[in-house]
Amino acid sequence: MSAGDSAAVSAVEGKLAELSTSCDLRTLPRRGKPASARTLNTAQIPLVASHPEVYEPCDDSFALVDALLSDKAQLLALQPSLCLEVGCGSGYVITSLAIMLRQLGSGTQYLATDINQHAVETTQGTLGAHGIHADVIATDIVSGLEKRLAGMVDVVVVNPPYVPTPEEEIGIKGIAASWAGGLNGRQVIDRILPAVRELLSEKGCLYMIALEDNDPLGICHLMNEKGFASRVLLKRCTEEESLYVLKFWQDAAVSTNASQSGKSPGSDSSWLSPFRSFWHKNGSSS
């Protein structure tokens, strides 16, 4: 973490002390975990299966897994019964999640979905190579699970297709489904969010990657209107993109505020101001 980042974080923390907010930025992880910490707690790259039509673990996958690792204590405390990955691709993330929560044993069960049939097979391969079991389903987002799984999932992880592309690239079969996000990279994300909100249990949490171009602040705002608090768990800039890992959870206080104000929380928005300053300062310094 550079001195500039620390200053920005301190500024945000200062704001947080003044304002009561649902966007808690206090636990920003340091960049660059020691390799040993990662390998003990995650899937092993040499054991991750691959297929030419399946997205391989890349910076975004590592960012999501690092964010989950940074939140491991909370995940363990949650004692999730059911965990779900939407869009499991190579299987790196769901396998890593199961490895980092292995002390929960068979008290925690895992489900994973992908629209790409090569991806579900690849995920099976990765899970098997690590001796982990998850039930993998070939489906569009969570189609077929909405009714019976409503309100039952405690942890959802999503590395969505977030790359801004022409709309017609959505729906192309194969590996394109792992990245093609349509307008602002939001078209698939905006279908995933309402579906996931239905599945989350009262204590449930969603961990999702978003790109700067996806308007992560806008995503938090939208989730806030639906009664979800949010937190930026990690921000990472690569050569190509600025990635955020966002965490969402239901918060009664947020729903009350959203329903009482009767307007978008951004319009008067004390709850957003620290978030916005985090965005502004970090965005410009990195």
């Binding site: 019964s81 044993g105 068979s106 008290g107 925690t108 069960q109 489900l111 629209i115 049939q117 579900v120 097979e121 099976q124 079991h133 039930d135 993998v136 389903i137 070939a138 489906t139 569009d140 189609s143 077929g144 699970l145 909405e146 009714k147 019976r148 799984l149 039952m152």
Partner: protein, 133 residues
């Protein structure tokens, strides 16, 4: 796919309102033992569709594994039950988490649409004209 997942899957074909439970057809199955966790079972029990589970276990070749009616919690979670061979809780655990359907199909009770299960993965992907809009 384990019977736990079967219990939570419904047909997603356009025009189908219930689509549940999916009839299970099993061509190949296997058993993988896992440790029993009573807390998990206690948590999931109220959400289970017991009859769907009984039917699925029967389709997988275990017609006598589960009682026709859901056992009382007092019986399931009685002291020592988890360690007693053949107890209701061990049977429930076996049905939900140890039976794997490797090859087969899930059939929608309303439309008759068959969803294949290949290499343990149910394929719920729809054709363009089957998708709800």
């Amino acid at each position: 796919m384990r019977l736990l997942t079967h219990n939570f899957l419904a047909s997603n074909v356009r025009g189908v309102s219930t689509g549940y439970p999916l009839a299970l057809e099993v061509a190949k199955s296997s058993i993988k033992e896992v440790e029993l966790n009573a807390d998990f079972l206690r948590g999931i029990l109220p959400k289970l569709d017991w009859r769907a589970l009984v039917a699925a276990a029967s389709a997988a070749g275990f017609p006598d594994l589960l009682a026709a009616e859901q056992p009382q919690e007092a019986e399931l979670f009685a002291d020592g039950a988890a360690d007693a061979e053949g107890s209701a809780i061990r049977r429930l655990h076996h049905a939900l988490l140890e039976i794997h359907v490797d090859e087969g199909a899930l059939v929608c009770p309303d439309s008759g649409r068959s969803f294949p299960i290949l290499k343990g993965v149910p394929n719920m992907l729809l054709h363009e004209d089957e998708v709800r809009h």
